[in-house]
Subunit: 233 residues, 2 copies
């Protein structure tokens, strides 16, 4: 008894399902890329869903298979920008041995990036402590990993590692918000890094020295587009 033409074998069905899922992801990714380019050029307000689907070369209706609204895709664009930044910071971290220096570099780059791209900064502040955020994902997860490495190597000294790691994350966000509100000036990245290192048990003077070392640059893919994200309408 053959499986016939109308009934695919399990293996074939799996392959088809795999293709479907892959195609779905590709479409989503095309939509996000189109939205990123348009929103970077024109701002979120002036970008329409129609333009996004046209640019992505996707049917208008398919948009709603992936996103409920323009705001939802804008969130996806920002989330991707946070991830790109995290990946770039991870690349830099691989070139640095001292966990304290790794952490200082990440904090300084995050505060600098937030000042240069306010939409990115506010998005981070708004989402990182929200339900489903925290130390389980995104930059919070990376922060927990980097603090954990420093703790295991006895570079950081904390009586309560979990609460202290949460506190470090919140402290960084608060200093980013302070920078965005103009309460901290251009030296905010170094000040933030110093405070965080002290919180992790690095002696004050050493913390400040590490936070003021020459900062190696990071290369975030698509940085150029996102830098103009806030300037649009």
């Amino acid at each position: 008894m053959s499986s016939g033409k109308t009934r695919a074998s399990p293996a074939r069905r799996d392959a088809a399902a795999g293709r479907g899922a892959r195609r779905r992801l590709e479409t989503r990714s095309r939509l996000v890329r189109a939205a990123r380019e348009l929103m970077a050029r024109k701002g979120i307000g002036a970008t329409s869903i129609q333009e996004i689907t046209d640019t992505a070369d996707v049917g208008f209706g398919s948009f709603y298979n992936h996103f409920t609204s323009k705001e939802a895709i804008a969130e996806a664009v920002m989330e991707e920008a946070i991830e790109s930044f995290g990946d770039a910071a991870d690349q830099l971290a691989k070139t640095i041995d001292d966990p304290a220096e790794v952490l200082a570099a990440s904090v300084r780059h995050a505060v600098t990036r937030a000042s240069a791209d306010e939409a990115w900064g506010w998005f981070l502040v708004r989402t990182a402590l929200a339900r489903g955020g925290g130390l389980g994902r995104g930059l919070g997860k990376r922060l927990a990993r980097d603090i954990g490495i420093g703790a295991r190597r006895h570079r950081f000294k904390m009586d309560d590692p979990l609460a202290t790691t949460m506190a470090a994350g919140g402290a960084i966000l608060a200093m980013i918000a302070g920078r965005l509100q103009g309460e901290l000036a251009a030296d905010a990245p170094e000040r933030a890094a110093t405070v965080v290192l002290k919180l992790l048990g690095v002696p004050a003077r050493e913390a400040s020295q590490i936070a003021h070392r020459p900062l190696p640059p990071i290369t975030v893919s698509r940085d150029l587009e996102l830098a103009t994200f806030t300037h649009g309408g």
Copy 2:
């Protein structure tokens, strides 16, 4: 030449304007009180604007002179709940001499309150670092004041008081979020207070001792109603 009957004197006009402003505030406050009672009993979702204006004994249309939506008045209700808490914590603070103990008590009460009333906790986490929040208002302003008192009395030791105060605020919010997400357990209030005192330069052992002293209660007006705020629809 008399000012006539149709033209009020400047003094009379001022008095009338004062009455108008006062009446406006009274109406707003009646609406917020009605919303608080209804939302506490039934939840935000099941409360209608019509019921709020009926309960407040105010014309339906007047609602929109004060709030743009039901969500806007719900925010006002939460903001008032944060203020009530802050006032109650201030009352307790007056009875304590040591600035470190004042701060520990405030942090412990805030984390406890957030666990008992999740809507309150999430509202605080969501708004305290947002644009217009920070150390300039609400609990942030009180935190800055209390840390400032401790710094002037040399109880707290910070090289960078502004950045450290911001960091303390963010640290408290992150630990509240961690508690709300179930990542920190019932001892979260004491752990949060310990971490914050250490951040402010109190030696580790002393910080932990202070954070575990018997905690005097605070009395928040209208606490009872708000405790049920989350349970409604």
